[in-house]
Amino acid sequence: MNRFNAASFVIPAAVVVVSAVALLWLAGTNPWEPIQLIIEGSIGWPPFEEGSAAKVGDTVMVWVPIALASAGLIVTFAAGMWNIGIEGQIIMGAIAAAFVAREVSTARPLLIALTIVAGVLGGLLWGLLVGLLRTVGGVNEIFGGLGLDFVAISLTTYLIIGPWSRTGVASTSGTDVFADAALLPSLERTRLSPLAVALALVAIVGVWILFRGTLYGLKLKAVGANRVSAFLMGIPTNRYLLGAFMICGALAGIAGMSQATGFHYKLIPAISGNYGFLAILVVLLARFRAFWVIPISFFFAMIAVGSSQLDLRLDVNSALGGVLQGVLVLSAMFGLGWAVHRSRRRAEQEMAP
């Protein structure tokens, strides 16, 4: 994974740009217009103009879960695992935080600390479950994760229309708004929570340090690169796989907490915003390097927030934003897969059996 050259970065990027422009052109718009609208809708046009504080705040608060999930996924990817279950881990983090926010009333700092801890535990346990299914049950982590995603999604819906439904109404629009004391403190007139941003940055730096300078990170990488050799060297591979899932789950849980108590201020059915799946793409584009997660996550956060403006201003459905994201995901995957295939083929030619 670290044998990429410039071409293997340029090719996927070029595929992404070309397919995005082609899609917009096919949708009958001038490709520049929606791009400008997305920028305007997410950070203002010209960027960061006066009065765009609320937009920027929203974009940053969308960046937080994507960045946290991406940081977590770097860990599971390093261990050689496709943690598709990250969506469920985000959701369980949100549910656990929502539980504390609804059920506990205490002093604000303590309550916020408790929601964070709850988020961590919710995600961590859900991640551990994927890992246990894999190591003990032999269930491929992709299927186990996907299954647990569905369980978590259904559980959210059940809670929202069942036990946690708004007084008098059972509606899928979400639970009651949490008490003020449970909400992450934000800057004035925005939803931007410095605490959430700090947690995301700490996670990214932490993951960077983990793989840069710790024996634990190196062993995780060894397990991911060659489980047989790692096992023969004496590394308890299963324990490291579980560790990777727990770290990733914990970070995803914080992402879910931030979604619940820092952005929506309640539990809604689509609480994860699909940011877990998006984070998979972020990590692939970032080539598993922690600091690249920061700008790439921000780019996707801008698309997510900015595309909501599309149908208002252009004669284009805002779903185009989703389609655009999907096309970006697929074309980046294609470009990356092609680059990997190419470098692997070259390696094989160099050292045939």
Binding site: T214, L215, A222
Partner: protein, 496 residues
């Protein structure tokens, strides 16, 4: 149909699997192809059956050169290959398997196919029920199914790759009868084997291969010693080794037996003492790897006890064996030893004794640099494992071993290495032996086994059939045992 292979070359990177092979098989003959593992027999047969394209050379069938781009081409040309594990689809019935390979995709005339199936079976005396699912057939019956299938598809040249593995003596006799009958009908049969006796019993002529080359082509029968010498080379001189006083037993198997498969028939007991070197001889897959896995806890015995340095570790986890100062280095250096993508420094960090949470990279690089120099690894501390050559990967693996091992288990310590590296590896291993490490190694190289072992265990068909004192045996005896001849042949007995 007569078949000629002319100057076939097939290289995989630096490995010359086939290096100018020329073989002629006359129509109506049974031709044996004999050689050790890795001699290039399978590669040659894969070239002949269209699996691999040769780098250069000609395949001439009945005087006409043919090109084989795929197995379909080969079967269309009349060359049928019976693989070591018969290629049958287990859930399908015998008849479905029979018709599967037939050309065309749409029309399937089961009725006439069934008639031909019955006709072929009765002609060769096979008792196969067309409606039985293949999974209920024995290996021998699956072979029979494959043979009639290939005949039905028009095979005029039949290649059999180690066909007697896993079939009963009756089925073997039946198979040999059928092959002889086919030869009288004008079929050319190529019989690939490592079993001397079978080749001698069945074939009219034999080609012996070693290291990708033909080293002899003889009319049979010949004295088996002649074949052994061709296969394994001349007997080697024993070299002087430092005498080492054997210490207490570091590895002890007592009454050990696996639950099923290799090494499950008889229970085995052996002590390996400190400073002793035990060589494991035998064709690949005869049980040596199972033996090593029993010794290191990767495989738990069904019964018996495994003791390492005085500690009973029976049924314990492999990592407990490591804690008892045992080390196991399997054959796949890059698959089962090193980690692709990680650097030499990172390998030393992973296996080093510094377990602090944060890595001191400066110190780690210093250690790695010294080890690279000390073990004369061609590369730097920043080289990745896969960028090293095979010999240097082996050096790295040895450099990563902790000092003062009680037991060292190795597979093919010098396979694929040049002479200098091989020599270097053994100097390291013998130094370990003098420190009191008990060494058990598997090898296909008889010279290596004779030169460095104190005792040699010979494996055949999943059992140990001989325990030899390396000082009192020779290449002939080991070669015979490896080929399954248990009664040692005394010089003169078979001399003409």
């Amino acid at each position: 149909m007569s078949l000629e292979l002319r100057d076939i070359h097939k290289h995989f990177g630096p490995v010359r699997a086939n290096d100018g092979i020329t073989i002629t098989v006359e129509a109506g003959t049974l031709h044996g192809l004999l050689g050790e593992n890795g001699a290039g027999k399978s590669t040659l047969m894969k070239v002949l059956s269209g699996f691999h394209a040769a780098d250069s050379g000609e395949i001439v069938l009945n005087g006409r050169e043919i090109r084989l781009a795929s197995p379909q081409d080969a079967i269309a040309a009349g060359i049928g290959m019976l693989h070591q594990d018969p290629l049958v689809f287990l859930p399908f019935t015998a008849l479905d398997n029979f018709v599967l390979g037939s050309p065309g995709a749409i029309r399937l005339d089961r009725r006439s196919a069934a008639a031909e199936f019955k006709e072929l079976c009765s002609r060769y005396g096979f008792n196969l029920d067309p409606d039985t699912p293949a999974r209920l057939l024995t290996v021998g019956e699956r072979q029979q199914l494959e043979i009639v299938r290939l005949l039905w598809l028009g095979a005029k040249v039949l290649i059999l790759d180690e066909p007697t593995t896993g079939i009963s003596a009756d089925q073997r006799a039946k198979l040999f009868g059928t092959l002889k009958e086919l030869a009288t009908e004008g079929m050319s049969v190529i019989f690939v084997s490592h079993k001397l006796e079978e080749v001698d019993e069945l074939c009219d002529r034999v080609t012996v291969m070693t290291r990708g080359k033909v080293v002899g082509e003889l009319d049979l029968p010949v004295p088996p010693q002649q074949l052994v010498e061709l296969m394994f080379g001349q007997a080697v001189e024993m070299q002087d080794r430092a005498e080492v006083d054997l210490g207490g037993p570091h590895l002890r198997l007592s009454g050990v037996r696996t639950a099923s498969g290799l090494l499950s028939e008889h229970s085995l007991s052996i002590d390996v003492h400190a400073g002793e070197v035990i060589g494991l001889a035998g064709m690949e897959g005869s049980g040596q790897d199972t033996f090593l896995r029993l010794c290191c806890g990767m495989r738990a015995p069904k019964e018996g006890k495994v003791t390492i340095a005085g500690r009973d570790l029976t049924g314990k986890h492999y990592h407990d064996f490591l804690d008892a100062n045992l080390k196991y280095l399997p054959a796949g250096r890059l698959e089962e030893g090193l980690i692709q993508g990680l650097t030499v420094t990172e390998h030393f960090v992973l296996t080093g004794d510094d377990t602090s949470f944060f890595i001191d990279w400066d110190r780690a690089r210093g250690v790695a640099k010294r080890q690279v120099e000390h073990f004369t690894i061609k590369g730097t501390e920043a080289s990745t494992a896969e960028s090293l050559s095979g010999g240097n990967q082996q050096r790295l693996l040895l450099a990563m071993l902790p000092p003062r091992l009680s037991v060292l288990l190795m597979e093919h310590p010098t396979r694929g290495l040049d002479i200098e590296s091989a020599d270097w590896v053994w100097r390291q291993l013998l130094a370990r032996r003098e420190e009191g490490t008990a060494i058990v190694f598997a090898s296909a190289d008889l010279d290596e086994l004779l030169r460095y072992s104190d005792r040699i265990l010979v494996f055949f068909s999943g059992a140990i059939i001989g325990e030899l004192d390396a000082g009192a045996t020779n290449v002939d005896e080991i070669g015979m045992l490896i080929g399954g001849r248990t009664a040692p042949i005394h010089r003169g007995e078979l001399a003409p």
